[in-house]
Amino acid sequence: MTAAFDIILCLLILGTAGIALFVRDALAAIAFFIAFGNLLGLAWLGLDAVNVALAEIALGAGVTGVLLILARARLLALGDDATCADTSAWLRAGALAACAGFVLLLAAAVLSIPAESGLDRAVAPLMPGLGIENRVTGVLLAFRAYDTLLESFVLLGALVAVWSLAPAGVWPGRPADLGMADGPMRRVAGSFGRFLLPVALVMATYLVWAGSDVPGGAFQAGTVLAGGLMVSAIGGAIGLPRSDLPGLRVALVLGPLVFLLIGLAGTGFGGFLVYPQGLAKAAILAIEYSLALSIGATLALLVAGPNVIGPAGPAGGAGRNSGC
């Protein structure tokens, strides 16, 4: 990429970030935040960090954007006007100082890394033992698998936190119907969802499989799956499941559980999260496929939000399980 392209991209990133921060209207701020996330993904692509670019665009711009739009709609429904109130000058100055300090620390940390000392050199000689080619997957699922294991539990914990917001009377029920209210719109979105969900399933499977050797992996695949589930739910092509459905619970914990069990089995081969010689690729793929399913189901349910319809509530959706 040429310097001109890089400079224009940097300016666009800074510009969209600035507008997202300073614009008063929440919807405009969200729109610029999504544009910012997509441009940031391009920047990661320019740095040859394709895995990060995929994750940034799918999670940072896509899922987070949907979550913000839904949060705004719920705030409006509650009577909040969803614009930022005036805050005191001291609070602003404090926030400015804290953010500036953090940026300086971050910049100092990044600049202190010698240009030649990427992880690549340390990781490259270790890769042949794993049987996979993608070094990012190698770091995430083998050399620093501990981090990824904890991340998968954090995501599950986030869903538990969202579910805990449900009023007592509607447990175990299901989240509010994501489907569009207007009939013709629902039918258009529904046909799109019915078309997209199988495609998303194939795409997610491919992303995990390809993730061993080229950019991809469980988080990107899970996000694609969640996207398919969300579009289908918006069109009413699938109903949101009851939160006590056994199949749903299995889908949610499958990834972290398989990860933990394989990790524990590793203690027989020399330590926690140590993969047996020759079986590393099989173990990594088993973890990644179950993680992708769990991440997809969890993200879709995070977007759907806490339960608002009780067990005896309106019979909407057949309670079909999402994702399995």
Partner: protein
């Protein structure tokens, strides 16, 4: 400069012109229906021409097939969302909308 390069340049230029016209229409047209009309030109023709340029530039059938898939999904998604936007605009036009949102 080979003939392929010239073709890539011409396709990119034409595609970008459609994108430019579409963006201009999005900014300048008065109502949702005509703005959507402008956007679909950028989405269909603009993206199609740029995708064709990219496929020619890489010159590999596998890459071209992937680019064609990307283009196809973008066109399908654009068609669906413009239908939804147009319907919502019509609904907003026939009854007062408390939100006051204008796409």
């Amino acid at each position: 400069m080979s003939w392929i390069d010239l073709a890539v340049l011409a396709l990119l230029g034409t595609g970008l012109a459609f994108y430019g016209a579409g963006s201009l229409g999005l900014l300048r047209f008065p109502d949702t229906a005509s703005r959507l009309h402008a956007l679909t030109k950028a989405d269909n023709l603009g993206l199609g021409l740029v995708a064709l340029a990219a496929a020619l530039h890489w010159g590999s059938l596998a890459v071209a097939a992937k680019i064609a898939l990307v283009w196809l999904f973008a066109v399908i998604a654009a068609g669906i969302t413009s239908q939804l936007l147009a319907r919502q605009a019509r609904l907003d036009g026939t009854r007062s909308h408390p939100d006051g949102d204008r796409p």
